[in-house]
Amino acid sequence: MNKFLWPLAGFIILAVFLRIGLDLNPHEVPSPFIGKPAPEFSLPVLGTPGEALDKHFSPRDMRGKVWLLNVWSSWCVSCRAEHPFLVRLAKEGKLPIVGFNYKEVRGDTEIDASKLGAEAERELVQKRARAWLAQRGDPYQLTVLDIDGRVAIDYGVYGVPETYLIDREGIIRVKHIGPLTEDALREKIMPLLEQETRGKP
């Protein structure tokens, strides 16, 4: 009997591991940023047509607020799926969302950005970002432009869309990879937000 039980036991153990593996997402890498201060940056803010990119935003400007930093791009297909949810979230007004436009032109495989000059690229980035927001609604308090993707590297961005929840002290509390959904909001973000608002003096 023993002879037959051993392979069965082995099979059951293997099956349990494989079952657990089914639910794991290898693209959800634990972020080393949780509990660490959001890296500082200063990036140009997307303005209205004709406006120069002289206004800058830094995470420091949001001190005292709990907010979301949402990394997006108009070439990113999942961002398209995520966008209506962000628009709804912004309408509910639970927390401010800052848009972080990631490599709008350079990241688009259909454009050869190396042929564009810096000025032309800046123009195109603004035009495309504005068109996207005009067409699909603008859930953002403001949108910053990371044209070359350097700041995104400091945030460890590796797949757009990504969303960070940053607390009043400027500490990153949650990093969500992939489109933000109702479930993710309820399970990951709302509990922390409530905890933060309760702790408000």
């Binding site: 290898p26 890498v29 080393p32 350097r150 590796y158």
Partner: protein, 169 residues
């Protein structure tokens, strides 16, 4: 072999020519090498980026991947080499951003003990199991070789019968 029609031959030739012509141009623009004049630095970049996992296509290193992020990270590493940063500075840069996951050689710590020693442990378990199985089999074989008194008697009787009555012609 079936002779190719002139049309087919021409098409094949032109496709081949296109491939040969297009190839170098298709590869070049992605990888401009600012340090190409510094082969030592390029070599260091290569060996360093082989140690890091690309987070987009996770089974490739940053050296091998052509994902946009890998290209950007190679650029960052290149500029850090240029600034004279040490290998451990560059490793820290990667780990603070992407965690230990980015390292193909994860550090030895509590959570990775099983990862580092698991295979060795499995090997030892397998050796012990093999030894005990072999021993058990040896014992049962030895037991089978010995004849019980009845079997002994039976065997002797058979042998006697065989020698007493010679086979008929």
């Amino acid at each position: 072999m079936i002779a190719a029609t002139p049309f087919l031959r021409k098409t094949l030739l032109s496709v081949l020519a296109c491939c040969l012509l297009a190839f170098p141009f298709a590869v070049q623009p992605k990888e401009a090498a600012p340090l190409a004049d510094d082969p030592a630095a390029e070599k260091r970049l290569r060996s360093l980026s082989e140690e890091f996992r690309c987070l987009v296509c996770q089974n490739q290193s940053i050296a091998d991947s052509n994902a946009d992020l890998a290209v950007d990270l190679r650029r960052e590493i290149r500029s850090m080499i240029h600034e004279g940063k040490s290998d451990s500075d560059i490793k820290d840069f990667m780990v603070t951003r992407y965690g230990d996951f980015v390292l193909y050689r994860p550090p030895l710590e509590g959570a990775t003990l099983l990862l580092w020693f698991g295979p060795g442990l499995l090997f030892i378990i397998a050796l012990v199991a093999l030894r005990s199985t072999l021993r058990r089999r040896d014992r049962t074989l030895a037991a089978e070789r010995e004849l019980s008194p009845e079997e002994q008697q039976k065997a002797e009787a058979l042998l006697r019968a065989a020698t007493d009555t010679p086979p008929k012609e």
